[in-house]
Symmetry: C2
Subunit: 193 residues, 2 copies
């Protein structure tokens, strides 16, 4: 019985491994100034670490383990759907991702499949304290990277200042302190033109 | 006060971002059969996910959030020291990694710095149920990948079958079921020569 469950879980984790091949739009930079696009796998690690380290700044009290579970799986659908630019998400992409989530989590033993599908949906809906905090953490690095890069993907894709503000405002619901920090970066960038 | 702590934590997380540039020895493969070495950043995500998904198989009961914290930071020292082949680790590499850990975690606010340095040391020492389980999870993928690759890095580096077994035997202390699974893969590989 344990062996059967383990076998299913290992297959699920092997599929997950493919997230290391999904390229995101965001650019990362090493200490020599070399740059490349990051993968969704490494992004997923960095948001887990960020959620752990910044946990004292949550707007509401959270079950941190649930936050970590959400962040560890929040991008898994991309092994089927690829990474979609935050400002270009629509009902169509949401529907595709929903179908992918059902398919992927169904690989797990029954109870676990239900638990993780719910966590994924909760994250998408930002319907709980945990998902609001997790979503804030997910947004913070694209903002930091784009502000470092003089607009980065916002400039490339022509996203207006007001849209950047409105589409990231929900960070405040997850962490007020974090939002003030990001808001400062965005307005400073806007001030530079 | 909150802003000061946040600023320190963001600097720590920015340094952590460099782990996305540290290349490991292990090879990953996408669905088209394309291959590349994985980075320590993406490995760190995949072990966090693995620990969450396999938690029912722990040998002892564990605080899963502590396991996740350990795995999220277990390779951070590599931003200073690089990845060292498991079978080539010695007192010298351990000493360098210890110094790097002290330096890196000291970037965090004081209490948090102490907490994470302790978690890192605990992981290295495998002195608790959490660290024994975390270490098992850290070992599972190199074994699975090398068995898939007809010996992989073991063959490249000339690591004997007995050494593979003895240096991975501790997986049993973290999860008996997982060890049985890996042991099966290793002995099957040995049977093939």
């Amino acid at each position: 019985m344990d062996e059967d469950k383990l076998a299913k879980q290992v297959e699920f984790l092997k599929l997950g491994d493919l997230l290391k091949f999904v390229q995101r739009l965001n650019t990362i930079e090493n200490s020599n100034g070399e740059r490349r696009k990051e993968t969704s796998g490494e992004h997923s690690w960095h948001v887990v670490l960020s959620a752990l380290i910044l946990a004292e700044h949550t707007a509401e009290s959270v079950d941190l383990l649930r936050v970590v579970k959400m962040l560890a799986i929040h991008d898994l659908v991309e092994v089927k759907c690829g990474d979609v630019f935050h400002y270009e998400k629509n009902a169509g992409t949401n529907k595709k991702e929903q179908a992918a989530a059902k398919e992927i989590f169904a690989m797990l033993p029954e109870e676990q499949a239900a638990e993780y599908l719910e966590l994924w949906e909760e994250f998408e809906e930002r319907s709980t304290a945990e998902s609001r905090y997790a979503a804030s953490i997910d947004r913070m690095w694209p903002v930091i990277h784009n502000c470092r890069d003089n607009g980065g993907t916002w400039r490339e894709k022509g996203v207006a200042f007001e849209t950047v503000l409105s589409r990231n405002l929900h960070v405040k619901e997850g962490s007020k302190v974090l939002w003030e920090y990001l808001h400062g970066l965005i307005t400073e960038l806007a001030g530079r033109g």
